[in-house]
C-alpha cells in the first residue's frame, strides 16, 4: 500500500524557494518547511523584532496549512528555532495568540539562522481526512 505524497501548491505569490516546497503532504501528515518572515504578497524577507517576525510567520503558516486543507488547530508538533533563547518569551507571547486550545507539542531552541532571521518555525500537522 502506498500512502499519498503530494506537494502543496504555495498559497503565497512570493518567489518561494526552488530548493524546498512550502509544504508536502505525506500519509496522514502535512510537513511544513522551516518558515522565516516574508511578505506574503512579494516574498520579500521581513526583518524586525522577534515578535514581529513571529507574527508574520504564523500568519503565513496559517495560509499554507489552509492551502493543504489543514489548519492551525490540526498542528501536532512545532519546532521553533531562534537566534537567541533570551527572546523566547517574546516569541511565546505572540505564538499563544495563534494556536487554539489545547496547543500542539513544541520544541524551542537557539540556532544560527540564515540571512539574519531571528525566528524560524517548522511544523507537522494532520492532513485533512477527506483523501
Amino acid at each position: 500500500m502506498s500512502l499519498p505524497r503530494k506537494v502543496i501548491a504555495p498559497p503565497l505569490p512570493g518567489p518561494g524557494n526552488r530548493q524546498a516546497s512550502a509544504a508536502v503532504r505525506g500519509g496522514a501528515f502535512v510537513f511544513v518547511s522551516g518558515l522565516t518572515a516574508v511578505d506574503p504578497a512579494t516574498g520579500a524577507a521581513i526583518r524586525g523584532t522577534t515578535a514581529l517576525e513571529t507574527q508574520r510567520i504564523l500568519e503565513n503558516l496559517k495560509l499554507i496549512l489552509e492551502a493543504a486543507g489543514s489548519s492551525l488547530a490540526r498542528v501536532v508538533k512545532v519546532n521553533v528555532l531562534m537566534h537567541s533563547m533570551l527572546e523566547a518569551p517574546n516569541m511565546n507571547e505572540i505564538y499563544a495568540r495563534f494556536f487554539p486550545e489545547p496547543p500542539p507539542a513544541r520544541t524551542v531552541c537557539g540556532a544560527h539562522l540564515p540571512h539574519g532571521a531571528k525566528v524560524m518555525l517548522e511544523c507537522t500537522a494532520l492532513a485533512p481526512d477527506d483523501r
Partner: protein
C-alpha cells in the same frame, strides 16, 4: 482522524504551568506520539535540575519514560530522536547515557549543538509509535 493531547502524568512535567510555555506535553496523532522538547525538571515539582550532561540526560530519560507510558507507549517504541546538546564536544558523553535507555534496535537519531533554554546542556525531542 483527530489529534489527542497527552496530559502531564506528574505535575512537574507540565512546562506550561511552571514556565508558561504555550505547548502540550505530547500529542498523539496518526499512530504517532509527538513529545514537546524534554528538559531536566523534577517530575513532581517542575524544579529545574541543572547538572552535568550525564545527570541532565538521566533525568530527561526518566521523564520521557513517564510521559510515553502515560501515552500508552514506551522508550522501546521510540521512532525518531533529536538530541540537542549545548556543545558537540559532549557527543560521546551523551552516547554513554543514551545507550543505557535505548539498548536494542535504537530509534533514528540526529544530534546537533544548539542553545537550549535556561542554560541546560541537553534536550530531547522525540517521536514514538503510539
Amino acid at each position: 482522524m483527530a489529534r489527542e493531547v497527552i496530559a502531564a502524568p506528574l505535575p512537574g512535567l507540565d512546562l506550561r504551568r511552571h514556565y508558561g510555555h504555550f505547548q502540550s506535553p505530547a500529542v498523539r496523532a496518526g499512530g504517532l506520539i509527538f513529545c514537546s522538547g524534554m528538559i531536566p525538571v523534577d517530575p513532581r515539582t517542575g524544579e529545574r535540575l541543572h547538572g552535568t550532561l550525564t545527570s541532565e540526560a538521566h533525568v530527561i530519560f526518566g521523564n520521557l519514560k513517564l510521559l510515553l507510558e502515560a501515552a500508552g507507549s514506551s522508550l522501546d517504541r521510540l521512532v525518531q530522536v533529536h538530541a540537542l546538546i549545548y556543545d558537540s564536544i559532549e557527543y560521546d558523553v551523551l552516547n554513554r547515557v543514551y545507550r543505557q535507555y535505548v539498548a536494542n534496535g535504537p530509534p533514528a537519531r540526529t544530534v546537533w549543538s544548539a542553545q537550549i533554554e535556561a542554560g541546560f546542556k541537553v534536550q530531547l525531542d522525540v517521536v514514538a509509535a503510539a
